[in-house]
Structure formats: C-alpha cells, structure tokens
C-alpha cells in the first residue's frame, strides 16, 4: 500500500499497515502528519497537526482552523507519538465530508463519504495524571455538546480515567450506543486504551471525535489519540485486531 503519496517531507521508514478490514485509518507519526498549510512539513512533537494521512484511501485530510488542530506529542518513555486534544473544545477530529458548520472543518474526500453507515470506530487514548475526557458524536459537536449526551440518531460516549492509582472507568452516555468495548495495556508511563463505538447513523452524517467542551465545567480533562480506524461493520474481532494495531502503530 502506498504511503504518503502526495506532497513532500516523508521521513523515516515507518510504514503502517492498516488493520484488516478497516475502511479508515490514521496514525500519529511525523510521516503521517504535517503542520503547514502547504502540506509539506512533517510534524514534530509540539506542532499542531494540520494534515492527517489516511492510509487506506491514501488521502491527506486538512484541519484548516488553527485552534482546532490536535498537537503532536511523544511519550517520553515509550517514544510513541500521540495527538493531544487539550482543554479547548476546538481540538477535535472528524472524518466525514461537510462537517458541521461550527468548526469541524476537516476537508475530506468522497472516498470516506459512507464510512458512517453502520459504522465502527476505534482509537487509542492514553491516560495522564489528570485523566481525560473524550467524546464522540454525530451531530452538532461544537455548539453545545448536547448531542453528545442526548443523541437521537447516533451514539455518544465518554472516557474518563486517571493514572497512578486513580483508577479508570468509562461510561456511556447514550442508550443508542452499541457495542462499546474497552481494552487496555500498560505502555510506558500509562495505560493505552482502545475504545470502540458503533453508530447506526446515516451516511454522510458528520462524525466527530475529540474534546467535549460541554463537560468542561464538570471535569476538565484532556484526550490523547494514538491512532484511529473505522470499519463499516464492527465485531469483537475488529477490536482485537485494533488493539494489536494500536500497540505498534507508532514505533
């Protein structure tokens, strides 16, 4: 599978392989994330990720709004790269075309238009000493976050955890969410959790993953992404595959 077939600035020999059966996959790595508007400069730790490379469709996706970009980090112990969605709700990630009018401005190609149909998504989130809170919703993620709590046509979930003896837990906020599973393994200084969600929503409905500001006033946390992949159907087999993939996706 070709990697980084557009633009310049590819670095190193890191060539991820997408999980079997996945329809969408991104990972955090200088080879796969770029920082400049011209899509030529590989991200380094501390850089905002302006372009993500989806390596199944071989497509670069841009987040045009500067304050909405995740920031690349690198775990000091494991050296794994991750994307930090800090306590600004403008940091978020989505992957369907025509994101909502309030800021999910990734410009996606038609190749992933239908990914939200009977959809499964997995991504890894790392813990920190302050834990994290993360949301995924299919509606107006920006205006109020309400749809993350009371979705009528999709699902929402949140993850909250704390390292260092604080325990961790995950709770699901929508009865519409199905097949929500979680696994974990110890990685460096913290746990790496693989979260999955299936959405029975119509194709082209925007799906966003990121920091949910509506919950800031309750618990202010950050979220970290290690990698994301999506399926057009979801199964426990997918989950196992993704769990293993997340462990190696960023060297």
């Amino acid at each position: 599978m070709p990697i980084c077939t557009t633009g310049a600035g590819s670095v190193g020999a890191f060539v991820p392989t997408a999980p079997a059966g996945a329809a969408f996959a991104v990972a955090v790595h200088p080879t796969l994330c770029r920082s400049d508007a011209g899509n030529t400069t590989p991200c380094n730790p501390g850089d905002a990720i302006q372009w993500w490379y989806e390596f199944i469709s071989a497509t670069w996706y841009q987040q045009a709004t500067s304050g909405s970009r995740f920031i690349m980090r690198q775990d000091a112990t494991s050296k794994k790269y991750y994307a930090e969605a800090g306590p600004s709700r403008t940091h978020r990630f989505g992957w369907t075309p025509n994101q909502n009018a309030n800021g999910n401005t990734f410009t996606y190609g038609a190749s992933v238009t239908n990914i939200a149909s009977t959809y499964g998504a997995f991504f890894g989130v790392g813990t920190s000493s302050n834990g994290y809170k993360f949301g995924c919703g299919n509606a107006d993620f920006t205006a109020n976050g309400t749809n993350l709590v009371n979705l009528t046509d999709g699902a929402a979930w949140y993850v909250q955890g704390a390292d260092g003896g604080g325990g961790r837990y995950m709770y699901e906020s929508s009865t519409n969410a199905t097949n929500v599973v979680m696994s974990s393994y110890v990685n460096g200084t913290g746990l790496l959790l693989s979260q999955s969600i299936s959405l029975g929503i119509a194709p082209t409905v925007p799906v966003s993953i990121g920091y949910d500001a509506s919950l800031v006033a309750r618990t202010l946390q950050s979220g970290n992404i290690w990698g994301i992949c999506g399926y057009t159907s979801i199964s426990s087999g997918n989950r196992t595959t993704v769990d293993n993939w997340l462990k190696v996706v960023a060297p």
Partner: protein, 133 residues
C-alpha cells in the same frame, strides 16, 4: 520547539467579530479561522445567555506572542481574559495572564497549571449549553 506557547482568550460577546478578524489576519487557515474562539460562555446566574466567547489558539512562536502581547492583549475590552501557557504535554503550565489572581501566584513563584474549570468558576461563568432549561 519553534512554537513553545499556547494562548487562550475569553472576550465579551460584542468583541467576537473583532477577534475573528484578528484570527483570520494572524492565522494560517484563512476564513476557517473565524471558527476559533466561538465557544460561548454564560454567567452562572444566567446559564442560557451567552455573554462571552473564547477558545484556544494553536501553538504560537515567540514573535507572534510578542506581537499579541504588545498589540492585541492591551487592547482587549474590559472583561477580557488572556492566558499564555506552555506548549507541553497537558496539563499546560500557565506562564502569563491578565487574570490578576493567577498572575499573582505566578509572580510569587508558584507553578500554575491550566485548570479552566476552576478559572471559569472563579469568573462565575459556565459553558453555554442551549439545552439548559
């Protein structure tokens, strides 16, 4: 790191258009930059009325910070709050702010980390949530 800072701002609602204009001028996303700082805030006593907007910047280099703190921050209207943090793994350290209580702690040598929930609580504001009854 070439961009060692992150910025956060809250401004009165009436100032949002000006802030958006600045964001377009200073950012690298063109008109998409108008989507920055559009997070609505309400007084805790009136949680359905948006009185202020805010949000975070992307990573900032020293030159941009110097420009902002010399030309933009001093001209923010009354009731605005600006904070510069370290661009380091979360929780970010607050390095400078016009929020006096926090700056006093920094001036006294204390290390202050970003805690927006506490800051908003101190300011008496809450995140806008139109579903709030």
């Amino acid at each position: 790191m070439s961009k060692p800072y992150l910025g956060f701002v809250i401004v009165p609602a009436s100032y949002l258009p000006t802030l958006q204009t600045l964001a377009v001028q200073l950012g690298d996303g063109g008109q998409a930059e108008t989507l920055n700082f559009t997070e609505g805030f309400c007084l805790a006593t009136a949680p359905t009325v948006v009185v202020a907007y805010g949000g975070g910047t992307g990573p900032l280099d020293q030159a941009t910070v110097d420009y902002l703190e010399a030309n933009v921050v001093p001209n923010l209207p009354a009731g605005s709050y600006w904070m510069r943090c370290s661009n380091s793994p979360y929780p970010w350290q607050v390095l400078k702010t016009n929020y006096a209580p926090t700056q006093s702690l920094i001036d006294a040598g204390q290390t202050v980390y970003f805690d927006r929930a506490a800051i908003l609580a101190d300011l008496g504001v809450v995140i806008s949530n139109p579903s709030t009854p």
